[in-house]
């Protein structure tokens, strides 16, 4: 009987100590980012790397950080959409910070979408999935000071943004 009591005592303590397990696992699929892939305009099937691309959210002081850097070189980038608005505008600046200002080119894309908040778990709370507007998924425009659009062709490849495993938007330049 004494052993049983001791066991109960230890059990009750061990349970009180291991209750705090409310950390959202990094592998959980939560709010997805918009995945953009860049292609060569002259060779539509080939991906093309951008050079020193910086992406600024409208009205933001700092650029979006992707893979630890605000200057992006590569063919695929993911950017966050606002979860508290049905519209997010980004400034895509190519060759950002380049001394030769002739190379710097800014394009603006405004994304229009619907949001759906979905329960994930106690630890993570909810996530937001996005559905790009079927009629006007985005509005592509030149910078305030016109410098010609560097993006030749922009197309939605997947309007349903629920994960980051596939490309949602293709940009040809």
């Amino acid at each position: 009987m004494k052993k049983i009591l001791l066991l109960l005592f230890v059990l009750s303590f061990s349970f009180s100590s291991c209750e705090k397990d409310d950390i959202c696992d990094a592998n959980t699929v939560t709010t997805p980012r918009l995945v953009i892939t860049f292609y060569d305009y002259n060779n539509a099937s080939a991906e093309k790397n951008v050079t020193n691309l910086s992406i600024f959210g409208d009205g933001m002081e700092e650029a979006v950080t992707y893979n630890g850097s605000t200057l992006f070189n590569g063919s695929t980038v993911s950017i966050p959409l606002k979860v508290d608005a049905d519209m997010t505008t980004f400034h895509f600046i190519l060759n950002y910070g380049n001394a030769n200002t002739a190379l710097v080119n800014e394009d603006i894309i405004q994304f229009n979408y619907e949001r759906e908040n979905i329960f994930v778990s106690r630890a993570c709370g909810f996530k937001t999935n996005f559905l790009l507007d079927p009629t006007t998924p985005f509005v592509h425009s030149d910078a305030a000071t016109p410098d010609l659009k560097w993006m030749q062709y922009v197309v939605v490849t997947n309007s349903n943004i629920t994960n980051e495993n596939e490309t949602h938007l293709a940009i040809y330049f």
Binding site: L8, F13, D22, R122
Partner: protein
């Protein structure tokens, strides 16, 4: 606040256990005395060692009282006063079927608002638990303490209301958004589970008992709402990722005696050791 409470209750548990320890050692020492007394045939030692209770009758007749324990969970009751997010009541009862077996039941109602980091929701509902307890404690003379293990089948019917929630966003570029208000209600939810109960009841005075039990629960069925989850089930308590849960209660019960049964001394001797 939560942690201090946990420590208070843990220390209460510890105290109650050490109390039980003390009692047990007492019975053991007394028992050796009684064992030493019973086989002896000399009338001289008998009269000196035993109390005047066994003055005229040679074999002391031991009678077990049978009846109902009826009571209330003190933890839920007191929590309703100090925790503004909680109102709950649990009535407990058991009926002695045989020397060691008790038919046991708990019935309760809870209204709890859980404020987690990312979700805040209110659960309202009632529950019923039915099962049995097995008393493994060998009482000496007319003691009526219980140290038991038991099983329960629990059933709960409840509803949930999601009050506020937060969006989890790994990319904090636009910053953490404030909690969103929902107000969405999920009605008609049910759950059932099995509980393994380890408990004790100690007679404090007359027919009043203080009891404590801890419970390990395992869900059998759980009707989840679409778009949300049953993160708290009345009677079952907090749910974890699996179907496992824990609970406890701290009860005060009143014993209503109904009849008495004579205990056969032979049975008592074999049961010992």
């Amino acid at each position: 606040m939560k942690h201090t409470l946990r420590y208070i209750f843990s220390s209460l548990l510890f105290l109650s256990l050490s109390f039980a320890h003390a009692q047990e050692t007492k019975t053991v020492t007394k028992d050796t005395v009684s064992e030493g007394v019973v086989p002896k045939k000399t009338a001289v030692t008998k009269t000196t060692a035993t109390t005047p209770k066994t003055d005229s009758i040679v074999p002391p007749v031991k009678k077990d009282r049978y009846g109902l324990h009826l009571g209330i969970d003190l933890f839920k009751l007191s929590r309703s006063f100090y925790d503004k997010d909680y109102t709950g009541l649990e009535l407990v009862g058991d009926y002695r079927l045989s020397k060691k077996h008790y038919l046991a039941a708990e019935v309760g109602n809870e209204n709890k608002t859980t404020d987690d980091e990312r979700v805040n929701f209110t659960t309202k509902g009632s529950y019923l638990k039915v099962g049995f307890d097995y008393n493994g404690y060998e009482n000496w003379l007319d003691m009526e303490n219980i140290i038991s293990i038991g099983l329960r089948y629990g059933f709960s019917t409840f509803n949930q209301q999601l009050n506020t929630y937060r969006i989890y966003n790994t990319d904090q570029y636009f910053g953490e958004t404030p909690a969103l208000t929902s107000g969405q209600k999920y009605n008609g939810l049910t759950a059932s589970w099995i509980e393994v109960v380890a408990g004790m009841k100690a007679k404090v005075f007359n027919n009043v008992f203080l009891g404590f039990s801890i419970r390990f629960n395992r869900l059998i069925s759980n009707k989840q709402p679409s778009g949300f989850e049953n993160l708290y089930i009345p009677g079952f308590n907090r749910t974890y990722n699996g179907d496992f849960g824990v609970g406890f209660n701290y009860t005060v019960t009143y014993f209503v005696p109904i009849f008495k049964k004579v205990v056969k001394p032979a049975e008592k001797k074999t049961a010992k050791k």
